[in-house]
């Protein structure tokens, strides 16, 4: 053992990759994070001249910021709940039943992600215009629902498929009805992986921008949409930075939550690993 340890080569390429990746991911976050807590930062100084919470106070004092936070959370909860209600039974059907066109349907969920999304959105927006869904809450819910389908079908399908059929049969054997088996055996067994899928679609919906902007604007304003308009319309960097840091909060909470609910293998299992 000692010999192999001392003779083990240091993987410089691996370390280099890790360092570069870390820089690429962490550096922009660091810059944005710094900007959010900066009052004055002028060229050529490397460190801001004055730190402070001035722009936080200004941003949080705005009514449209609070209403967009509420809007984003309401949307994310609604879309995720609806998506779960629709997709989980469908995923179970895909995993356990054989019906004509099963494979074609299954791969059709990929279609929405296989083509340039914006083109698709514009086409959908045209249809929504005729249905009077443009600028409405439910219009945005619908468009964001489409975005969650892939995760909410494919991951739970893999989760259901990995549940041992014998476990379900054993439950039937001791007297459980098919519905009871699903509720007491299949769902808890697939639970952690499904929780991962729900988490992914919640965070994904919270950050979804194109659909929300195209269908919802200007009446329905989510936090990311507001951030874009801030960045576009305000010469002051700090407004965008503050909103950006605000946007980290849900994914940070989600990640903490994920570590508790989801064991490390579940994501991999969900993706067929």
């Amino acid at each position: 053992m000692a010999a192999t340890l001392t003779h083990r080569k240091i993987d410089w390429t691996g370390i280099a990759f890790a360092v570069v990746l870390t820089l690429i991911i962490v550096f922009p976050l660091l810059v944005v994070g710094t900007w959010a807590f900066t009052n004055v930062w002028r060229y050529p100084s490397v460190i801001p001249q004055e730190f402070g919470l001035r722009f936080w106070e200004q941003t949080l004092a705005r009514a449209d910021v609070w209403s967009s936070i509420t809007m984003s959370l309401t949307l994310a909860f609604t879309v995720t709940a609806l998506s779960a209600a629709i997709c989980l039974p469908a995923a179970y059907a895909f995993a356990r039943l054989d019906f004509p066109g099963r494979n074609l349907l299954f791969f059709s969920f990929l279609a929405g992600h296989a083509f340039p999304k914006f083109g698709l959105l514009v086409a959908i927006a045209g249809i929504f215009l005729q249905l009077n869904l443009i600028g409405t809450f439910w219009g945005v819910v619908l468009i964001q629902l489409v975005g969650t389908l892939l995760f909410m079908i494919w991951i739970p399908v893999a989760a259901f498929q990995s549940v041992d059929r014998r476990m379900e049969e054993a439950a039937r054997d001791v007297g459980a009805s098919p519905l009871r088996v699903f509720w007491s055996i299949t769902l808890p067994q697939a639970g952690p992986t499904i929780a991962a899928a729900i988490l992914l679609s919640f965070v994904g919906t919270f950050y979804e921008t194109e659909g929300a902007w195209l269908i919802g604007a200007p009446q329905v304003r989510t936090l990311p949409v507001l951030m874009i308009s801030f960045i576009n319309n305000q010469p002051v960097i700090q407004y965008g930075a503050v909103l950006s840091v605000l946007l980290w909060v849900p994914s940070f909470i989600a990640l903490l939550f994920a570590r508790r609910v989801v064991n490390s293998g579940s994501f991999a299992r969900g993706f067929g690993g």
Binding site: D164, M167, E169, A170, A171, D173, V174, G175, S177
Partner: protein, 346 residues
């Protein structure tokens, strides 16, 4: 009075026209342990799964205590199944695994506690209720699986190769335990296995299956001593099966011949190694010793007939034989088969 009655049951799976089970009939008496024994693909598991309600027969009728169960779903049947892969619910602890079926039956919590603890004692796992399934060894998991079925007091216990995933030592211990429990509770049991040792040591009766059909149904000692077909003869225990021809009451194959009082024609001669004596021959004899293996308690001689047909003989003094030596065969008991049926035994 038979508890379980299977009449003319067939199963044809939709993909492919193979009859997994072909016109199978069996009556199992109260408290009896019947083993379904056969190689993989013989239809024994399919048959068991049909009794449990996990497969529907294509035709035929099954009754338990006279009641037709052929079309009942598993949850409506008075059967309890133990699966090969134990199939315990890993998100529940041992107690909850056992209590699940009782809860569905609306048994009171006190009664559940009493019955679960009683059955855990019975399978030698008293006090293991709060353990997680993953904390148990393979043998313990299989005991919990057995307890999960027993706690519901099924009319018929179904065991689907329950020891297949365990090592030899554990397998032998568990099958003794299961047999003890089965006899103590006098529970009617259908047991699927491909291991002849398991069938011979546990069963009241053995059903030898092949290609979805019954080859023979008998007590273990009868199946061993009086196999009705060459398949059974070859499948249970070690058997020398020699194909040859009978002419004028003499069976012969490659220089070996023995009297066989049957009509002329082809025949398969069956001789157990332990019923075959060997004598040293000066002039080459009927066969030549290939190898001698000394097992301490006995020896095993592998010998070849002149056309290299391999034959095994059990001898009490292996040191009397050596490789290359010519021997004469002196069987003490033989059976002969023709057209898959027994035609002679002596």
């Amino acid at each position: 009075m038979s508890v379980l009655s299977i009449k003319d049951v067939s199963k044809i799976f939709p993909n492919g026209n193979v009859r997994a089970v072909d016109s199978f009939s069996l009556d199992v008496a109260d408290g009896e342990l019947v083993c379904l024994l056969g190689p993989s693909g013989s239809g024994k598991s399919t048959l068991l799964r049909m009794v449990g309600g996990f497969e529907t027969p294509t035709s035929g009728v099954m009754t338990i205590d006279g009641e037709d169960i052929t079309r009942l779903p598993p949850e409506k049947r008075p059967t309890g199944m133990v699966f090969q892969s134990h199939a315990l619910w890993t998100h529940m602890n041992v107690f909850k695994n056992l209590a699940f079926g009782l809860k569905l039956r609306k048994v009171s919590p006190d009664e559940i506690k009493r019955r679960v603890e009683g059955v855990l004692e019975l399978v030698g796992l008293g006090g293991y209720g709060t353990r997680g399934v993953g904390q148990l060894s393979g043998g313990q998991q299989q005991r919990v699986a057995l307890a999960r079925s027993l706690v519901l007091e099924p009319k018929i216990l179904l065991l689907d190769e329950p020891f297949a995933s365990l090592d030899q030592h554990l397998r032998e211990r568990l099958r003794e335990e299961v047999r003890d429990i089965q006899q103590r509770l006098k529970i009617t049991t259908l047991f699927v296995t491909h291991g002849q040792d398991e069938a011979l040591s546990m069963a009241d009766r053995i059903v030898v299956m092949r290609d979805g059909r019954t080859e023979q149904i008998d007590r273990p000692d009868v199946v061993y001593r009086e196999p009705q077909t060459p398949f059974v003869a070859g499948f249970i225990g070690t058997m020398n099966l020699v194909e040859g021809t009978v002419s004028n009451g003499i069976f012969s194959r490659a220089g070996y011949s023995t009297p066989l009082p049957v009509s002329d024609g082809p025949a398969t001669l069956a001789i157990r190694p332990e019923a075959l004596d060997l004598a040293a021959a000066e002039d080459g004899g009927q066969g030549k010793v290939h190898r001698v293996t000394d097992y301490g308690t006995h020896g095993l001689v592998d010998l070849d007939l002149r056309d290299n047909t391999r034959i095994k003989a059990m001898v009490s003094h292996p040191d009397l034989f050596k490789a290359g030596q010519g021997v004469t065969l002196k069987p003490r008991a033989i059976a002969a088969y023709r057209d898959n049926a027994l035609i002679h035994r002596a």
